[in-house]
Amino acid sequence: MNASPYEIVVGLEVHVQLKTRSKLFCRCSTQFGAPPNTQTCPVCIGMPGALPVMNQEAIRLAIKTALALNCEIPAFTKWDRKNYYYPDLPKGYQISQYDLPLSQHGFLEIQDPKGRFPARRVRIIRAHLEEDAGKSMHDEAAGQADSRIDLNRAGTPLLEIVSHPDLRSPLEAKAYLTELKLLLGYLQVSDCNMQEGSLRVDANINLHLATPDGPVATPIVEVKNMNSFRAVERALAYEAPRQYQVWLETGQRLGDVPKQTRGWDDQAQLTRAQRHKEESSDYRYFPDPDLVPVRITAQQVDALRRELGELPAQLRQRLEATYGLDPYDSDVLVNQGRELVDYFIAVADASGDGKRASNWVQQEVLRYLNEQSATIDRYPVGPAALAELLAAVAQGLVDTSRGREVLQYMVERGVGAAAAMQHLGIQAVDSSELVRLCQELLAANPRIVADVRSGKQQAIGALVGQARKRSPNANPAEIKRICLELILGTE
């Protein structure tokens, strides 16, 4: 299937800011966008003598996320210091978790309804909590001495989710991120806004090659500075052939050279080696003596598990099983978020036709929302009203294209289906009237009748068009059925 001379191997490290009101170890606000250094206190700026106190809400959100990622939650976890010097790190160390993380050994399943990659269970090595650093605003142009630091972000809770290198293409990497973001959205634990930095991705990538001497792995490269999922996809798509070229030129294998860090340049669409002189590679981790270890009981875990609600994967299955949707449709709906799915379910339940509800929600409702850049809570037609319209369509009171006009009217005027249909002069056409109409049309179109008799049934289409000119409310399928019956007789 793959003509490529190498296999791409990718693992992702995702940092997610958790949506707590206050920071991980102090009571400062985590609100994004405040003027620099206004959301700080002695604790989060590392003032001599200040001490951290753990935020229970961050633990709660982290465990919820870990459970949704199918992770184990050990009964005992602790805080460690990761020591390094950097201007955005006021204490000279980051409080993180080293050898006893809050959660481990989970997985996230990804699949592609378009079948571009096989369904995959991406294993999660660990998900642990740590505090965010501040933000350096280097102003290289203004001269060497002019760097500014904003410590508003310092101390914000981050969940670092580390995957195994189970991803095999840039597309899979993007799918993993999309699914992860969706999951976090369903859990309401993070805003996942890459522009605001509430979700950050680093990728580890190398190649596996089959050589005459057996399989070979190339050195792992860590890619940073990717500001969107698209950028991740592109950076990896750039990085794989680059690494292959390096392999051809140098023959370097995994272990021959130290791990390299490269930054993605979105403008130039390429990765560049990063100079890392200021960061130590030996973080001298040790348990933070200012904090006590955290014990997590089975009861706490169970209570949080009950709070999870239905997650995307389960929801897709339910939509397929209960409403007869195919994987593609369930995927489209679920990926829009829980609120839209709830809307769909209400329409499907009220109209009794999941497939039709799915088509209308995807084609009509989503089109409107996209055009308006709105979310479902702003859609003017409630699920009951849409279900009423779909029922009319199902009963043949109105055909699909007339139905769209009705919905358009409902959206614009904010009226129900019945009122809209009435206003548009739509009413059920009496079936004897319809038979009479068809008889007239057949009499006026002998050529078409002959064509149909000779087996070209599609010739009926022209009659349908003529019928609707004379009677706009006539149901096309019904016209087709009556005409065929009149020509061919009932068998």
Binding site: M47, P52, Y93
Partner: protein
């Protein structure tokens, strides 16, 4: 006036209650004595004269108006300069923090204020609490009031010296490996290191977070009980502070303990212990026997590893705690203009010599800023410990040093648990020798470290310990008796110390200051 400064805190409190003397008069007497004698002793780094008088006058006003007055009722308290006081320079004895003004009060300072303690000033210390002689202060050494050519001990040397010299009836010190008890012994005062978690560390500039505790220094057990009661208790801002209730130490301290079982540690009578101190300790045991106590021999078999364990764990934590003093965030910053000029010159020199590898390895300006600021801002002992700790935590050494030290620490704690199954308190010498001359051990850090021999175990095990005056050498230098108690048994320590002071007069001796 000298009679006022000669009196204990408890006596002064009684006199203030009876209206016989005012807080302002007491503060003035202390300030007067500081003005007269501190130029020679050097116990204080800064004295808050006007503020102290104003705070004392405020207490007097409220007392006269019949309003409630806090536990300390206007008594002056000196505070070690490792503890943050809002709006006042807090140097930690370091050039690094010569200009550091905390925008907040440490929890103990809040509690002192709430109890109507009058902050007298900030006392001298070994830089960041690292040292046993107060010679490692970046500003000036403190001298022992008993002999100005001798050290007062450390790191709370200023805290002990100011009490011994009658400049303050009460003072707060900090103890990481003996830093309250050792100077208390060498200066002939009472110094108590509370159980880890008994007193909040919030606002105490960290040296070794898992070992540091703030505690009281005073001339009597009663006074120490009073100050401990004022500062102890749970603090939600310190995760390691214990939620256990605080007994009313100042009320229970006078109750004698009956059937007291004291453990005499066999390992404490090995080599290194001065025979005069050994004799004084034995005599102190006799005093306790005469009070009805039983003395039993107990063993702390792993105590011989205590110094080694301590000098791994404390530097490891310190290396991380002191990382924030990098010239970019906190602390002294090197002359940046000069630094950049030097850096450019170095680069030109290397380029001229065609040394491309050298150019490549040259510090970035940021790294040079860190290195140079830290090189200038820290003293030798602090640098020594940062290097020790950084080394011990490094990849490849962690297991052999830090992890092993943690295991030994557990064994040491286990020894204490076993000993306390048989005895109520452990008793022994506080220091191996009495006060030594200034400079005697300055170039022999190992000898200096051995001064903590008997005290570090208490910190490693997280227990409580107290030093009380129990004798004097032939030259007249004070000797301290060290009592250790199980966790949260400060009450027992204080009562045992009170019993001893009821039948001895060592704590009443006073140094002759010129």
């Amino acid at each position: 006036m000298s009679s006022l400064t000669d009196q204990t805190a408890s006596e002064l409190l009684e006199r203030m209650r009876s209206g016989d003397v005012s807080a302002e008069q007491i503060a003035a007497a202390c300030l007067d004595r500081i003005a007269r004698h501190d130029p020679a002793v050097g116990a204080f780094l800064r004295v808050g004269g006007d503020e102290a008088l104003a705070a004392a006058a405020d207490v007097d006003r409220r007392r006269r108006g019949g309003q409630a007055v806090g536990l300390l009722g206007g008594l002056p308290v000196a505070v070690k300069d490792l503890i943050c006081v809002r709006g006042q320079v807090t140097t930690c004895g370091s050039r690094m923090l010569a200009n550091f003004v905390p925008p907040y009060d440490a929890t103990v300072v809040e509690r002192l204020r709430a109890a109507d303690g009058v902050l007298l000033g900030k006392t001298n210390l070994d830089e960041f609490g690292m040292g046993g002689s107060t010679e490692n202060s970046a500003f000036h050494p403190t001298r022992n009031p008993w002999d100005l050519e001798r050290i007062p001990g450390g790191s709370s040397g200023g805290a002990a010296a100011c009490v011994a010299a009658r400049m303050a009836p009460l003072s707060l010190g900090t103890d990481t490996g003996g830093s309250i008890r050792q100077p208390s012994a060498l200066c002939g005062v009472v110094g108590l290191k509370p159980t880890y978690g008994r007193v909040s560390r919030f606002g105490l500039v960290a040296f070794a977070s898992s070992l540091d505790q703030i505690g009281p220094l005073a001339r009597t057990a009663e006074d120490a009980a009073l100050l401990l009661e004022a500062i102890a208790g749970h603090d939600p801002r310190d995760s390691t502070s214990a939620p256990a209730p605080v007994p009313p130490y100042s009320q229970t301290v006078r109750q004698p303990l009956s059937g007291l079982r004291l453990g005499r540690v066999r390992e404490h009578y090995g080599e290194g212990l001065d025979e005069q101190l050994a004799a004084a300790t034995e005599q102190a045991l006799d005093v306790y026997r005469s009070l009805g106590a039983q003395i039993r021999d107990v063993s702390l078999p792993h105590s011989r590893y205590a110094i080694a364990t301590y000098y791994i764990i404390a530097p490891c934590e310190a290396s991380s705690n002191l990382a924030r003093y990098d010239g970019a965030h906190y602390g002294h910053r090197t002359d940046e203009r000069q630094m950049r000029a030097d850096l450019r010159q170095e680069q030109r020199r290397l380029e001229a010599a065609g040394d491309t590898a050298g150019v490549d390895q040259l510090d970035t300006p940021l790294v040079r800023l860190y290195r140079q600021s830290r090189a200038e801002g820290f003293g030798a002992e602090v640098k020594r410990r940062i290097m020790l700790g950084t080394y011990a935590l490094s990849a490849g050494y962690y297991d052999a040093y830090y992890l092993k030290a943690l295991k030994t620490r557990r064994l040491i704690r286990g020894d204490y648990d076993q000993a306390f199954a048989e005895v109520d308190l452990i008793v022994g010498p506080c220091t191996p020798t009495a006060a030594f001359p200034l400079g005697a051990k300055l170039n022999d850090p190992l000898a200096m470290y051995l001064g903590d021999l008997y005290t570090v175990g208490t910190n490693l095990a997280g227990l409580a310990g107290i030093s009380i005056p129990c004798g004097a050498t032939r030259e007249g230098w004070p000797i301290g008796l060290h009592l250790q108690a199980p966790a949260f048994e400060e009450d027992r320590l204080l009562r045992a110390a009170y019993m001893f002071q009821q039948v001895t007069a060592w704590h009443q001796r006073r140094p002759d200051l010129p």
